[in-house]
Amino acid sequence: MNTETTCCPPPASKSAAPSVGVTESLQKPRYDVVGSADAYEVRVEMPGVAKGDVKIDLDENILSIRGERHSKLPEDWKPLHRELSQVGYQLRLRLNTPVDRDKLTASLENGVLTLKLPVQETAKPRRIEVQ
């Protein structure tokens, strides 16, 4: 079951004026979604992101997740070999099921963000008894 699909980039007009010319490097994190009738659980891998540096927005049916990395590497560390990326994370998911936005919970543990999105009561499957 795949309720969330990756979504388009945000509309340019919404953010700063395009003439400013500020580019930002962001990467799409690895994630997975587990769904049940009551709730969806989204797990996003964001190593290097501390608790205070995650921003989650639910706008209409677009869920945006952003994680900034505040690299705390001391300046006198001389890099000898680098593979780990230093850029932040951004993930935008389009939800096709109405979720209860007031009950949305998020927790970040060991570099993995876990989001719980309870499905709205009206969207849950119901059994209709035959009279």
Binding site: E45, P47, G48, D76, W77, L80, H81, L84, N110, G111
Partner: protein
């Protein structure tokens, strides 16, 4: 026409030690490894590493998202630093378990007994202290 011997332009001095830090086939080409990871997520072993040094220590950093401290093993044996992760996840529906490992060869002059490791926000940092510089010794003639 003149034939000239091709010499690699990069400095092999200290870096040569670190060629062996990486046992992964794509080690020398992090960009290729990353690219592959983008096209085939899950295929490429994600245990990527950074190496730094300052005047007292070497530092190796590994990305281990979602890993608990108990699931990580850091070993040093014969100048080979090995980080391995064994994890099993069990849910009602399914069960998955996997192990990941990465070995890095450590330059000479690291104090194996004083290596420390810390796991924070899914990033493991291993600190490898350098040995005190051996001082030149003056031999007196008797």
């Amino acid at each position: 026409m003149k034939l000239t011997r091709h010499l690699p332009s990069f400095d092999l001095g200290r870096v040569a030690d670190f060629d062996q830090w990486l046992r992964h086939p794509f080690a020398g080409f992090p960009a290729v490894g990353q690219l592959l990871g983008e096209f085939m997520p899950g295929v490429v072993n994600r245990l990527s590493a950074d190496v730094f040094e300052d005047k007292d220590n070497y530092y190796a950093r590994f990305e281990l998202p979602g890993t608990k401290k108990e699931d990580v093993k850091v070993e040093i044996h014969d100048r080979l630093l090995t980080v391995s992760v064994a994890r099993s996840e069990k849910t009602e529906a399914d069960e998955e378990s996997f192990t990941l490992a990465r070995s890095i060869s450590v330059p000479e002059g690291v104090r194996g007994d004083a290596i420390a490791a810390k796991l924070e926000d899914g990033i493991l940092t291993v600190t490898l202290p350098k040995q005190e510089h051996r001082k030149p010794k003056l031999i007196e003639i008797t």
